[in-house]
């Protein structure tokens, strides 16, 4: 079985690089997107086990992406963990996110969240 694929969506290139480095170091495969439109393309191209989603992004923000994802057949069940610097977990709940991590979160908290979500996602396939 291949390692789970994690899609990381954030407009900040350093955040993208750092999170991808953390996840790859733990053996995850990662895909990256800089905004919601790119993320939707990624989701179509390769079904990720989990999506780590920033909210405040140009072109298409995280809330609009989450709504668009939920309307796509076969993609609506992909769990989303919101990773946001806005300090407002209610916004994550409003899009039905499975988890919320407030930046700056601990690396171990990220890995625990991803491990839990990917194991649930794999078990459900």
């Amino acid at each position: 079985m291949t390692d789970p694929l994690v899609l990381v969506v954030d407009d900040d290139p350093d955040i993208l690089d750092a999170i991808c480095d953390i996840l790859e170091g733990e053996g995850y495969r990662v895909a990256r997107a800089r905004h919601g439109v790119e993320a939707l393309e990624r989701v179509e191209a390769e079904k990720p086990a989990i999506i780590l989603l920033d909210l405040m992004m140009p072109v298409m923000d995280g809330l609009a992406f989450a709504q668009a994802l939920r309307e796509r057949p076969g993609k609506a069940g992909i769990p989303i963990v919101v990773i946001s610097a806005d300090g407002n977990p209610q916004r994550a709940a409003s899009v039905g996110a499975a988890g919320y991590l407030a930046k700056p979160f601990d690396i171990d908290a990220l890995l625990a969240q991803v491990a839990q979500m990917t194991s649930s996602a794999c078990a459900s396939f």
Partner: protein
Amino acid sequence: MEREQSEQPKTGSDPKDVAADANERRSGYLGFVAHEVRNPLSTALWTAELLARMSPEERGGARGDKLSAMCLRSLSRVRQLVEDHFLCERLDVAGIPVRAEPLSLGEVVEALLERRPADAPPVTVELDGPITVAADRSLLERAIEALLAVAGSDGTPVRVVARTGDDVAISVSGHAPAPGALEDPRKGSASDPKGRALALPVARRAAAALRGSLIVSDAGYLLTLPRVRAYTPPPDSPAEP
């Protein structure tokens, strides 16, 4: 279409509504500042922790070099944001002494351009002859430097044109301003990779402290400052060469 910045309450508005509006704007602005600081702070913390978890051999390798560079870059962003934020706060409460002195605009701009980083986008300057403005040097530098930063976003070449009339009008054009960015910095670029998310608030406040104004239009940024028509040095000043 021009969008002139104005934080003045509308005449005739209910004082309670005006206060509520001001509080809401203030809260939104502080939320934006916190958001902008947390992103590079996150990267700095994560990369420092990853480096700490690595063996000395790993740390000396390519991945260690990459993480170190990311950490330093992120800390620079945090520093820039913190400096800009506190400058805005101090200007808001008139906490900085502003000393107006006659300054050669050309010399100020030239000195700023010499201090720009090597990877900064090119800047062309067109002055309407020698121009002297009455300004505090430090604040004038901060205002112009901030406008060069926002106009040069994404590596866009910048053009500075200064004209004299009743006042001195300094036009800075390059990267198109985001609609409404001057009124609300949250409407600008979502995350500035150089940490200049507060450049426009800095420029606006510095312009006001210099008794000038800042206008944002689709064409760019227009900084207007008081002009010195004929400067006579005080009697005890040394004569200019």
